[in-house]
C-alpha cells in the first residue's frame, strides 16, 4: 500500500511546490521547554519543511509521518536514524542490527526480537510485573511524598526490567546513562550529543560485557535472544548486538512513558478520578499518555532515491526528520489533540512508531504502564504536585528530571 502516492520523480523541480524553510531548531533547550508552538508551525507550514539549522527535511503532519514510517525501502534506516548519515560519517558505535537496518536484513533480526517479546511471553511475565507494581505503590504510600521520576517512573522499571532481561546485579547503574547517550546521539552534533558521547566509554564497556551470553541468566530476554543462535536464526556474533538493542531501548523509554502518564494524571485530576472509577482504563490511560507526551519525539530516515512526499520533491540521500510528537497532536487526525483523554481511541498513534520498525518492546511497555496505573487507580485518591517540576533534556526523549508529588491513599 502506498497511500501518500510516493513515486520516483522524473519531472523537473519547477513543477513541484517550493518547500518552506524554517529556522526552528528542534534540538534546542528552549524548544524542549515548550515544543508545542514550534511543532504547530512545522505542521502548518507545509506537508514537508526544510530546517536550515541542520539542513534536513522534516515532516510533522500525521499523514506524512505515518507514510514515511511505512515506506522503509524509500526512507531507509540503514544510513542511521539520527542526523548522522552512515554513508558519509562513521557511526559512534557499531550500528544496530535492527534499528539501523533495512529489509530484508532487518526482517530476520526483527523476527527474533518479536518472538522474544511476543504476546505469549507477556502472558507469562504478567503476574510478576503486576505484583512488583503493587509492591512499588504500597512502598510509596508509606512515604506519601516522593519524586515520581526517580522513585516511580525509574524505580518501577528498574525493579522488573533488568531481572526480566537476566542481567547481573553489578553495573546496572550504567543502564540509564547508556540509554541517555544512545538517544542523545540521534540528535545533531550539539552540546547534548557531544558531551554524552565523550562520557560514554564506561557505559559502553558495561553494555558490551553484559550482552555476552555467559552474563545473561537463563530464562531472561537476553538468554532467549542468544538461544536463537542454536537454531541458526542469528549468528553468535549477532546475538550480543541484539541484546544491546533491548538494553538501549528497553528501559529509558518506559521510564519516560510511565513518567509521562504520572505527570498527566497529576496535572489532570479529573482524568485520575475517571481512572479511579474504572481501573480497567489503566492500559488506555498509559497509551494516551504515550500519544500526548510522545516520549520518543523524533527519528530520522534517509531517502534512497528521488521521491515525492505529497507532491513535494526530495532528492536521493536526504535526511528526513519525522516529528512523532507533532503527528500525535495533528488536528487533521485527532479531535482535541491537546487534551489528555483516557477514553480516547488511541489506535494509530505513532508514539511507538509504525511499520516494520515499530517498537519491538511495545508490549513490555504497555504491560509496565498498565500494571503501574492499575495499582495506582486502586490505591491512590489524589496526586498533588508539591515542588518544582524540572525537565530532563535529551535530543530524542521527552521527559522530566524531577516531579515532586504527594499522594493520598484511598
Amino acid at each position: 500500500m502506498n497511500p501518500q502516492g510516493f513515486s520516483g520523480s522524473t519531472t523537473s523541480s519547477e513543477r513541484h511546490p517550493a518547500i518552506p524553510h524554517l529556522d526552528v531548531d528542534p534540538f534546542a533547550i528552549d524548544f524542549f521547554d515548550n515544543p508545542y508552538p514550534d511543532q504547530a508551525r512545522l505542521r502548518e507550514a507545509a506537508p514537508v519543511v526544510y530546517l536550515d539549522k541542520w539542513r534536513v527535511f522534516g515532516v510533522a503532519r500525521y499523514a506524512e509521518v505515518h507514510a514515511v514510517l511505512n515506506d522503509p525501502l524509500t526512507f531507509c534506516s540503514s544510513r542511521g536514524v539520527g542526523l548522522s548519515d552512515f554513508a558519509k560519517e562513521k557511526p559512534w558505535r557499531p550500528p544496530s542490527l535492527i534499528l539501523e537496518a533495512d529489509p530484508p536484513a532487518h526482517t530476520r533480526t526483527r523476527a527474533v526480537l518479536s518472538k522474544v517479546l511476543s504476546p505469549a511471553v507477556m502472558k507469562r511475565i504478567r503476574d510478576r510485573f503486576a505484583a512488583a507494581a503493587e509492591a512499588k505503590i504500597d512502598e510509596l504510600l508509606q512515604r506519601r511524598t516522593f519524586d515520581a521520576i526517580a522513585d516511580l517512573a525509574e524505580g518501577y522499571p528498574l525493579s522488573v526490567f533488568p531481572d526480566a532481561m537476566g542481567l547481573r546485579q553489578e553495573g546496572r547503574e550504567h543502564l540509564l546513562p547508556y540509554a541517555g547517550v544512545v538517544f542523545n546521539a540521534f540528535g545533531p552534533p550539539n552540546e547534548l550529543r557531544q558531551t554524552a558521547i565523550e562520557r560514554s566509554a564506561p557505559h559502553q564497556a558495561y553494555v558490551a560485557e553484559q550482552c555476552q551470553r555467559h552474563n545473561l541468566a537463563p530464562g531472561g530476554f537476553g538468554a532467549c535472544v542468544h538461544a536463537f543462535t542454536d537454531t541458526g536464526e542469528i549468528t553468535a556474533e549477532e546475538a550480543p548486538l541484539l541484546v544491546r538493542s533491548l538494553l538501549s531501548a528497553g528501559l529509558d523509554t518506559t521510564v519516560n512513558s510511565i513518567g509521562a502518564a504520572i505527570y498527566c494524571l497529576a496535572r489532570f485530576p479529573e482524568e485520575l478520578a475517571r481512572l479511579r472509577r474504572d481501573p480497567t482504563l489503566a492500559r488506555n490511560s498509559f497509551e494516551e499518555a504515550v500519544r500526548f507526551e510522545s516520549p520518543v519525539q523524533t527519528f530520522f530516515r534517509t531517502t534512497t532515491r528521488e521521491v515525492e512526499i505529497s507532491g513535494y520533491h526530495l532528492g536521493e540521500g536526504e535526511k528526513v526528520l519525522m516529528f512523532l510528537g507533532a503527528a500525535n497532536r495533528d488536528p487533521r487526525r485527532w479531535e482535541e489533540p491537546d487534551r489528555y483523554d483516557i477514553t480516547r481511541k488511541t489506535s494509530g498513534h505513532v508514539g511507538f512508531g509504525s511499520g516494520v520498525h515499530m517498537c519491538a518492546g511495545q508490549l513490555v511497555a504497555r504491560l509496565e504502564g498498565e500494571v503501574v496505573l492499575a495499582a495506582l487507580a486502586r490505591k491512590i485518591e489524589t496526586i498533588e504536585i508539591t515542588g518544582p517540576v524540572t525537565r530532563r533534556y535529551n535530543n530524542t526523549l521527552r521527559g522530566l528530571e524531577h516531579l515532586p508529588v504527594t499522594i493520598k491513599p484511598v
Binding site: 511476543s118 511471553v121 494509530g348 511507538f352 511499520g355 511495545q362 504497555r366 498498565e370
Partner: protein
C-alpha cells in the same frame, strides 16, 4: 457497500459499512466498534484485534501467515480454530456480509 457484522459477547449485533477501509480492523476502529482495540495500529504485533470468524466464512478468508498464527497463541481470550486477527483480513467486495464474533477481552 461492504457490510460487516460484529457480534458482541452479550449477543448484541453491530453492523458497519467497511467503506474504503483496507482491513476489517480499520473498518471496526473507524466505526468505534468497542472490543477491537488494535493497540499496535495494524502492524501485527499486539493481538488486540482478535475475532472469531462465524461459520461459513473462515474458508473464504485469505490463509493466515505463520506470524499471525504465532501471535494468536498470545491472545488474551481463548484461541479457537476460528480465531483470526482482524488487521490481517483485507477487505474485498466478496466479504460483504462477513460475520465476526468478538472475544470477551483483548488484553
Amino acid at each position: 457497500m461492504t457490510a460487516i457484522t460484529f457480534i458482541h459477547p452479550d449477543g448484541r449485533r453491530e453492523s458497519c459499512d467497511a467503506g474504503a477501509a483496507a482491513t476489517v480492523m480499520l473498518a471496526a476502529t473507524s466505526h468505534g466498534v468497542a472490543g477491537i482495540l488494535a493497540e499496535c495500529g495494524g502492524n501485527a504485533m499486539c493481538v488486540t484485534c482478535h475475532v472469531y470468524v462465524e461459520r461459513g466464512w473462515l474458508d473464504r478468508l485469505p490463509a493466515m501467515t505463520s506470524d499471525e498464527d504465532a501471535l494468536l497463541d498470545g491472545a488474551a481470550a481463548e484461541r479457537l480454530p476460528n480465531s483470526r486477527l482482524s488487521c490481517q483480513i483485507r477487505m474485498t467486495p466478496e466479504l460483504d456480509g462477513l460475520e465476526l464474533r468478538l472475544p470477551d477481552r483483548q488484553t
